[in-house]
């Protein structure tokens, strides 16, 4: 069974250093938490320069553009009302509808992408320390039977953690 060890840090650089050392020692299951976004920590966590969220945004925007134009076209053709010799399917006004729908669905799909990629909402019981949302940086390392919990504790201690705590299983 895997258990979790938490290291709570006061300084950003200690936090990043400890996370890097744990990573190079073979502890891959790390959760890094901070009160602000940190690019260095994101790198240690293995997060790339882009995010799959952009695919959701693109899909939403394309769907919105086609959907908006299709909605305007469909509504004009389902009940034909020729007026003053003007064309039934007309680009300038319908493109405005398509434009607005591009943005609407782009935003909604980006929201969906955020939830899918981040895994939120996550109201289950997970390792978390409230200080992390104030002024502390925390590393949670998951150790299984194959890895050495003592070595992980030592890296956190030597790395300058204010506190090292055993959080048990989650």
């Amino acid at each position: 069974m895997a258990s979790n060890i938490l290291g709570l840090f006061r300084y950003e650089e200690d936090f990043i250093d400890a996370a890097e050392r744990l990573k190079s020692a073979g502890y891959d299951e790390l959760t890094l938490m901070s009160p602000i976004p940190l690019h260095d920590a994101e790198k240690v966590a293995g997060l790339g320069k882009s995010s799959p969220v952009r695919r959701f945004s693109l899909a939403g925007a394309l769907l919105g553009a086609f959907g908006g134009f299709a909605l305007a076209t469909f509504s004009a053709t389902v009940f034909l009302l020729p007026t003053g010799g003007r064309s039934i399917i007309t680009f300038p006004p319908f493109l405005v509808i398509a434009y607005e729908m591009t943005i609407l669905l782009g935003v909604l799909f980006t929201l969906l992408g955020f939830h899918v990629v981040s895994g939120l909402p996550a109201w289950r019981d997970v390792p978390y320390v409230e200080d992390t949302n104030v002024d502390r940086f925390s590393v949670v390392v998951e150790v299984d039977e194959k890895s050495d919990p003592e070595a992980a504790r030592r890296i956190l201690d030597e790395g300058g953690a204010d506190e090292v705590r055993d959080l048990g299983e989650y």
Binding site: P35, P37, V96, I97, V107, T110, A122, T132
Partner: protein, 442 residues
Amino acid sequence: MAEYQEPTYAEVNRDVLRTMLVTGPKYWTALGISMTVAVVCFFGPWFYQIHVGVGAAGMNRSAFWGTYLSNFIFWIGLSHSGTLLSAVLHITQSSWRKAIYRSAEAMTLFSLVTAAFFVMVHVGRVWFVHWNFPVPNQMGLWPNFRSPLMFDVMAVTTYLTASSIFIYMGSVPDFAAVRDASTGMRRRLYTIFSFGWRGTQKEWHTLGWAYTFFAVFVIPLAVSVHSIVSWDFAMSIVPSLHQTIFAPYFVCGAIYSGTAGIVSVMFLLRKFLGLERYIREIHLDNLGKLLITLSLIWTYINIMEVFTGWFSGSSFEYEAMKFRMFGFYGPLYWEMLLFCALVPLLMLFGKIRKNWRYMFIISILINIGMLTERFLIVATSQPRKFLPDAFGFYFPSPVEISITVGSFAIFTTLFLVFVKWVPCVSIYEVKETLQPLRKRAT
């Protein structure tokens, strides 16, 4: 002047959360007054109008549009700076945005809600307001998507949706901070609001990307919204409205009044919520510079509007222009120019630009001028179109004046509720602007 001392991370949490968790008698008094004014001045007269019909308003045969529509433009305009400014400054990575954007975005949201009320008041038979939505009626007939009014419905609902998502997503980490600082029912509620946020790198990374995409979508949206509102007027053939300059004119005016609105709101938040340490002179100075720029653009467009009217050689345009400048509402035209073109020039002086009281007064004057501008667009166009037999006159009735006053109370009420439910300064983004917690720096 005391030297500015940067707050620590913990102090940011404490100071911002205090504005939500500690409530004094001044707050309850303000909320009570604004709710009472909203009910007495807005909802009361509105129900009276529903009961007796739209004849209760001063609109008549040649003036089919009145203050309800001019107020709609005003509130939509006021909504423009919040989300737009926040998005533009996010994309350009301007760090001074971080302390003020949350309240500015809230201003956007509540201005839009207030504007939506005016649509419902204006249509008269409010129970048919769903006819505006893109759904067919019982005969299978859909709304006319060629109409600028339908553009408007699509644009404003999209803007309301996008702005709500934009402000909510930016607040998620701060909802987690509220959750952690509270107990009982509030804690349970904010656990739901924060989606169980922990501040993991994956969460930050994903939020950062999603937020940037929201900003990218919101910028063209905001520009389109007020362009479309301008087309409600410009696509008619009414003299003085049928102009290609209307879209940039409206967008510029909207950002101008919205930025002035931000200055007013920041003054009040700073003063009454004790946020002097976060909303500082640099914000005022930058907003002042932005206001001067917008004021000059707005003045230029106004000159161009008069020039193109004159250059058209159309006698109908001349007549409409003459009526606007020298007719019954002439004094209001010159008042608008005084408040929106001349008074803002005072901000060229650094001493005025960095003084909160002066800037508050100037921002209020700008918005009085902008409210007048919107009123003039409506009140001096339709009643003065083409031949004299179609001429009429419009003056707002007491019901319309009361509803106009009440709309400010609705906005104030919503804002007062907001400051107790959402941290009005972004906690995590203010922390980002502080010195990082580094050993070597301490």
